[in-house]
Amino acid sequence: MNNKHLILVITAITILLIPFIFSSGSGKAIVGSDDQAASAIENTGYQPWYSSIWEPPSSEIESLLFAAQAAIGAIILFYVLFHYRSKNKPRNN
């Protein structure tokens, strides 16, 4: 079981590292597919008719908020897993 998960984690990390190996030296930045789609739409001559009510003031703040989102998720996830785990343990320790 643990071996299976170890192999899976290593595979996942390898998949995520491949783009860095290929893009290093080419000098091309990694662009978000959503931004690519947005510019593809703007190339057709379309102008967005509405913009966000509020935008993060900088990309640093945006990263911070994305990290906060991940943290909220992680806290809930591990709280429940911990709760399940402690319930399963025999109470003789």
Binding site: I15, A37, I41, A67, Q69, L77, L81
Partner: protein, 231 residues
């Protein structure tokens, strides 16, 4: 992508998504009243979507994109419930991150909360029916949830912008979205297998109530992890 869909399309996707989300809310209420012990699992499914959709991962094509995380919720609770969980995440991202958007919320709920999870749910049921291992089922379900979400987005954009034609536009958006998404979908599949295995180990009883596991699979995992059997 706020404001990037013509308003008629915004309304169209809202009209398709709202009934599913409403049904999902009713289903959550009914299900948690009947099985209060499943509430933490619902929280795990939502939290998993929160985590995965916050990550922007690099892909082999020199692009980056977000996983969806909806495969787990879809397999455990079905597409309607997952549409509610996805809607919560999408509103959070639209308001706080200027990511997605309120005008495109209906379209995003439809792709991420409905189409992806519906595909995942179906794949898992088929694989369960074939008697294959639950790990294979959850892996493919999560991969399909991710890919189908972005294929739906590509289709939605080509419907709104069939320039010069729908099919040429579809190829263009599929290249942008689906191609980038393949390695990310595999990574998402792997992460979902790990959390799913852990849930099987901790609470096989709830997964049996949810009809995610067959009784014999549960007794098998009970044998494997006797510490998880409730007295």
């Amino acid at each position: 992508m706020e404001g990037f869909l013509p308003w008629q399309w915004c309304l169209f996707w809202y009209a398709l998504s709202i009934p599913v989300v409403s049904y999902g809310v009713v289903k959550i209420k009914r299900f948690t009243d009947k099985n209060p012990e499943s509430k933490p699992l619902l929280a795990v499914s939502g939290a998993f979507i929160f985590i995965l959709s916050s990550l922007k991962l690099p892909s082999v094509t020199g692009s980056s994109s977000h996983p969806t995380g909806t495969g787990l919720g879809a397999v455990l609770f079905g597409p309607a419930v997952t549409s509610v969980l996805s809607a919560i995440v999408l509103v959070f991202q639209a308001l706080l991150l200027a990511h997605g958007g309120l005008t495109t919320l209906g379209a995003n709920i439809f792709s991420m909360g409905i189409m992806g999870p519906a595909g995942a749910w179906l794949v898992y049921r088929v694989i369960k029916g074939l008697g294959w291992s639950p790990s294979v089922g959850i892996f493919l379900a999560a991969v399909i949830a991710d890919l189908l979400t972005y294929m739906t987005t590509a289709t939605q954009l080509s419907l709104a912008f069939p320039i010069p034609t729908f099919s040429e536009s579809l190829i263009k958006f599929m290249v942008i979205f689906a191609y980038t998404q393949i390695p990310l979908a595999i990574v998402e599949g792997i992460l979902t297998v790990i959390i799913f295995d852990y849930l099987i180990k901790l609470r096989p009883d709830i997964l049996r109530t949810l009809k995610v596991l067959k009784p014999e699979e549960t007794s098998e995992s009970n044998k494997k992890y006797p510490e998880a059997v409730k007295e």
